[in-house]
């Protein structure tokens, strides 16, 4: 056994005293990263494992606005075995409520299915029965409905429900549908009916907005790529969109990936905060060992030997800390995750996964190494005599160049690991830059606080205020304790401040800004011949203030300046890619919409009758690199219309008015079947009569209550905010552990100080006041930096990621500063109790 190893083991016989904070910091950080990684892997595995059930087939061909023609269906049928067709659309469920006794209406997302549905998985109903039996109904065709809608309308099983003009009987509660995840975001609860029973309901008429899909069952070894190429190539013009079991819910997968990337970064922040704790734990451990190190050097131990002795000790402890972290971070999700599998909105397979454990272990080891090397390397630099002097006041020697180089290598490895493992390198790079910036600023600020405190201590300010002088002296004097506490607390608070501001801004975007301008209802699928009677009926309702309507179609942008959308998508600003994905609302008008602001170009003449022209959104146009005179091809109902850009319009999407990315000249759309959309502003008391009046007269028209839609979106966002808060919680807990650690490490010094002060005649209250003051000052300084950096980070997220105006929220910010000061104060006071309670003689004698 090497000499260094033997010495290291001898040193460790004393137990882990002084390393509890080291272990806690490292374990918490590693646990946070491992837990996030494990949950992410569990969801990814769940999604891919159940890809077929989620998608509802091995592959899916999706159409907008129409169903497959007989020829198309025959072509698909000829190729493969089982095929199931579904249609999906929004509608209103209308029924007489058992609660109010009146006719009530509820927005719903209807899925029409055939006898083959579902190809994979099971539909769970209550009372339990086969889906086919439920949909067959009895005297009327049957339907099944989610519990939330049954309760909202006030129904019982067996009641009659109207969809459009079709009558159905509610046969069962829909408990679970296997393909719900891939359906994406619906504004209303689900109803399932047999598609054939919708005939004559007026809901799948020409121009109505619905989607249909052919789901296909394939052999396990089927050539998915070959099939995809064949179908998409053959039928792109017809509007086919392809998905297969390999990624049944790309939207969900993307969301989970992004969320996980974000949370992993928050986990890394916890690790960075923990790193500060690791560093200060190592520093105070080495400070206690200063005499031992000096003695070892005196009796002939070389610097490298001393370095090795302590590196081995810290290495062993790092392994222990990482192991504890992995145990908690991977074990806990695997243990308690299965209990939540049914409650989670996405499928997840909880287990112990190796990849996230390896990633967390790498992060943890590199972080511990990085933050340990600095204090450790200093011991090699300092001469034995100076070390003895170090007992009284730490020296400021820098580590040797090769140690600095080693630290640089570790740092680069850590950054590389974060960039690779996070799966979002750009986000990770920004995040790491932010953490580094925050740490550097906090370090500078803590040094600044020290300098200012030292200067103030010598000014006339603390004259006659010994408590203040004491606090200032301990912050500004040699071995001042400001740095460690400021770094750990400050970084934790920065993350919290950022999340607080982002949270506030997200909430205010939906809840504060919208309702003042937003209409009460959107009405969609108003047929051409219904438009005038609809307007008359709606205007007749008391309290209805303003109605706006526009013709509406849906189309897919198929080319920009002749370049196919699939190619253009790879070339444009990522922020504008959504424009080229899926179908978009399209309208036509002879005059600009009221209030429209043209940023370039002119509107066409009211009687324009030339080649197609289009008015395009200014912001998205700029992002796509479009200019006046460029062409956009839109595929509407299988027909490509290529229009020249006549002007750009400013669109405020948050306004919730009728906004279209594309508005064509009326001539371009001549003859295309379409419906109308209407927005109605109405007093809150008029909402119910309006819904009753319009819903009764136009059963095929779907009403979307804006307030409900906002609530639905808000609840999605609050889930997101909750996840962020959990992440911030992990950072803050680590920050608190570090804070408590540094307070505990400073206890010895404070005991001594308190004993001397008592000897000189200071009362306990005065000493406590001084301790409180210095802790509060450090906390407040850390809080102020946190506000600055946290708000800057939040501004970047809101401005660049959420594309929204940023609003600084003072109360949230103040809470962070006060919380920081309070946490620092509390930790300081808890650890002041011991020193204050100890008799001076005990402490002073120990120092003799």
């Amino acid at each position: 056994m090497s000499l260094a190893f033997r010495f290291a083991l001898r040193e460790m016989r004393g137990g882990l005293r002084g390393f509890r904070v080291f272990l806690a910091c490292l374990a918490l950080g590693v646990a946070a990263v491992a837990a996030v990684g494990s949950v992410k892997t569990a969801i990814a595995t769940g999604l891919s494992d159940q890809g077929r059930a989620i998608l509802g087939g091995d592959a899916e061909l999706r159409l907008t606005y129409r169903r497959a023609t007989a020829e198309e269906r025959a072509e698909v049928d000829a190729l493969v075995g089982d095929v199931s067709e579904i249609v999906d659309f929004r509608s209103m469920a209308v029924a007489t409520s058992r609660i109010s006794g009146e006719v009530e209406r509820g927005l719903t997302q209807v899925k029409g299915v055939d006898a083959n549905y579902p190809l994979y998985g099971e539909v769970a109903l209550d009372p339990p029965m086969p889906l086919a039996e439920a949909l067959a109904g009895g005297d009327l065709p049957g339907l099944v409905m989610e519990r939330v809608l049954i309760d909202r309308i006030g129904l019982e099983i067996g009641d009659e429900v109207r969809l459009g003009t079709g009558q159905f009987r509610l046969m069962a509660t829909l408990v679970a549908e296997p393909d719900s995840v891939s359906a994406g975001f619906g504004l209303g609860p689900r109803i399932i009916v047999a598609t054939e029973a919708l005939d004559g309901s007026g809901l799948l008429g020409e121009g109505s907005f619905y989607e249909s899909a052919l789901r296909i069952r394939l052999d396990a070894d089927a050539d998915l790529d070959g099939l995809k190429e064949r179908f998409v190539d053959d039928t792109e013009a017809a509007g086919w969109r392809w998905r297969d079991r390999r990624n049944g819910a790309p939207g969900v997968q993307r969301f989970v990936d992004r969320m996980a990337a974000f949370l992993v970064l928050v986990g890394l922040a916890a690790l960075a905060v923990g790193g500060v704790g690791v560093s200060s734990a190592v520093r105070s451990y080495l400070a206690e060992k200063t005499e031992t190190i000096a003695t070892l050097k005196t009796i002939g131990a070389p610097g490298n030997g001393v370095f090795a002795i302590y590196l081995i000790q810290i290495g062993v402890l790092t392994l222990l800390g990482v192991a504890i972290g992995l145990l908690i971070g991977s074990g806990l999700p695997a243990l308690i995750g299965p209990a939540f599998e049914d409650v989670l909105p996405v499928p997840a397979l909880f287990s112990i996964y190796a990849t996230p454990m390896v990633e967390a272990a790498v992060y943890g080891t590199l972080t511990a190494l990085l933050f340990t090397l600095w204090p450790l390397a200093r011991t090699r630099q300092v001469r034995a005599a100076a070390l003895f002097r170090d007992i009284a006041a730490p020296s400021r020697a820098l580590p040797a160049k090769r140690d600095m180089a080693f630290m640089a290598i570790v740092l680069v490895a850590l950054v590389a690991a974060a960039l690779v493992f996070s799966g979002a390198p750009v986000l990770a790079a920004w995040f790491l830059a932010g953490v580094a910036g925050a740490l550097a600023t906090l370090w500078l600020v803590s040094k600044g606080v020290g300098l200012v405190a030292a200067r103030l201590a010598r000014s006339s300010l603390p004259r006659g205020r010994p408590g203040l002088r004491l606090a200032l002296a301990s912050l500004g004097g040699p071995g001042g304790e400001a740095t460690g506490a400021a770094l750990s607390l400050g970084l934790g608070l920065t993350v919290l401040a950022a999340i607080g501001q982002v949270d506030y801004n997200m909430r205010s975007v939906i809840s504060d800004q919208l309702p003042q301008e937003a209409p009460a209802f959107f009405f969609v699928d108003i047929q051409n011949d219904q438009l005038d009677p609809f307007l008359n009926d709606a205007k007749a309702v008391n309290g209805v203030a303003e109605i706006a309507t526009a013709p509406m179609l849906r189309g897919v942008i198929s080319a920009l300046n002749g370049v196919p959308a699939a190619v253009a998508r790879e070339q444009v600003d990522p922020a504008a890619r959504w424009v080229l994905n899926g179908d978009r609302g399209v309208s036509y008008a002879s005059a600009p919409p009221p209030g429209a602001v043209l940023t370039a170009g002119d509107w066409w003449a009211a009687d324009y009758d030339g080649p197609p022209l289009v008015s395009f959104s200014a912001e998205e146009g700029a992002e796509l690199g479009l200019k006046i005179g460029d062409t956009i091809s839109v595929n509407i109902l299988g027909r490509d219309i290529t229009a020249t850009i006549a002007n750009f319009r400013e669109i405020d999407w948050r306004g919730m008015g009728i906004n279209f990315l594309l508005i064509l000249d009326p001539g371009a759309m001549a003859g295309a079947p379409h419906t109308h959309i209407a927005t109605v502003h109405a007093a809150a008391t008029s909402e119910a009569p309006l819904l009753r009046e319009v819903g009764g007269a136009f059963p095929n028209v779907t009403a979307i209550r804006v307030r409900d839609a906002i609530d639905r979106v808000s609840s999605g966002l609050s889930d997101l905010a909750a996840a962020s808060r959990w992440g911030a919680g992990a950072v803050l807990i680590t920050g608190l552990v570090v804070l408590i650690g540094s307070a505990a490490a400073g206890q010895r010094g404070r005991s001594y100080e308190s004993a001397i002060l008592k000897t000189l005649g200071a009362s306990r209250g005065r000493i406590l006041g001084s301790f409180a003051l210095r802790a509060g000052l450090v906390g407040a300084a850390a809080g102020l930096v946190a506000i600055g950096f946290g708000s800057a980070a939040a501004w970047a997220v809101i401005t660049f990621v959420m594309d929204s105006p940023f609003q600084f929220h003072l109360p949230t910010a103040l809470m962070v500063v006060l919380g920081g000061a309070a946490a620092s104060l509390l930790a300081g006071l808890i650890f002041a109790w011991g020193p204050l309670a100890t008799r001076p003689a005990q402490v002073l004698r120990a120092r003799e």
Partner: protein, 233 residues
């Protein structure tokens, strides 16, 4: 006759060690007149430093009564003891015990500030100058030699003009030349302000400089010498 500077009656001290309670002081009776200088001597571990700590209110006697300037220290709580020291005592230790985060002048001014003196810094500067430390006011303890640190400690003890000076082996950490300077300064201070000086020391020569010498043996006090015939039991 004026009230005694110290009156100790049957003072006992037991400290808890791992092996059980250890009796350090086993019944000390001692009266010290105001303005007297008393040397306390005895072998290592005899309890002389513990006696000094009890006289300074830094340690609480397990039994017995300690009166200083007619105030009953045994009946006071920690804060009352601190106030009593602030107003009446200056203490010098073997290890100096300066506050490491404060400069020399801040250390000396600290007790004056605690007592609410408006001219704390002016007086502290004077005390330091008298100790030959003019120009070292802004140095931190770690930047001073052992002798300089002890002179700062002495200045700190003397600055509030205490009626009682307690010194626990004040030259124990210093070489003989530096020690002699400190001792001269200490006695000079005592005489200048007419303070009562209680000094624990290992050095017989130092004890001989005091008017009285008390020897502590096995936790009990024995009068070793009394040059001026001051009262002693």
């Amino acid at each position: 006759m004026s009230q005694p500077a110290f009156a100790l009656k049957d003072v006992r001290l037991s400290l808890n060690a791992k092996s059980g309670p250890v009796d350090i002081l086993k019944g000390i009776d001692l009266t010290v007149d105001p303005g007297a200088s008393v040397g306390i001597v005895g072998p290592s571990g005899s309890g002389k430093s513990s006696l000094l700590m009890i006289m300074g209110g830094l340690e609480r006697a397990t039994a017995g009564e300690v009166r200083a300037l007619d105030a009953n220290l045994t009946a006071m709580d920690e804060d009352a003891l601190a106030r009593f020291r602030r107003d009446n005592m200056g203490i010098v230790f073997q290890s100096f015990h300066l506050i490491p985060t404060m400069t020399a002048i801040e250390n000396v001014a600290a007790p004056l500030e605690l007592a609410g003196a408006n001219d704390a810094f002016e007086r502290a500067a004077e005390e330091l100058a008298m100790m030959g430390l003019a120009g070292r006011e802004q140095h931190y303890p770690a930047q001073l030699s052992g002798g300089e640190q002890q002179r700062v400690a002495l200045a700190r003890a003397a600055a509030p003009r205490p009626k009682i000076l307690l010194a626990d082996e004040p030259t124990g950490n210093l070489d003989s030349a530096t020690g002699a300077v400190i001792v001269d300064a200490l006695f000079e201070l005592q005489q200048r302000h007419g303070a009562t000086l209680i000094m624990v020391t290992h050095a017989p020569a130092l004890a001989d400089m005091c008017q009285r010498t008390i020897r502590i043996e096995d936790g009990r006090a024995v009068e070793a010498s009394a040059k001026t015939g001051l009262a002693a039991e």
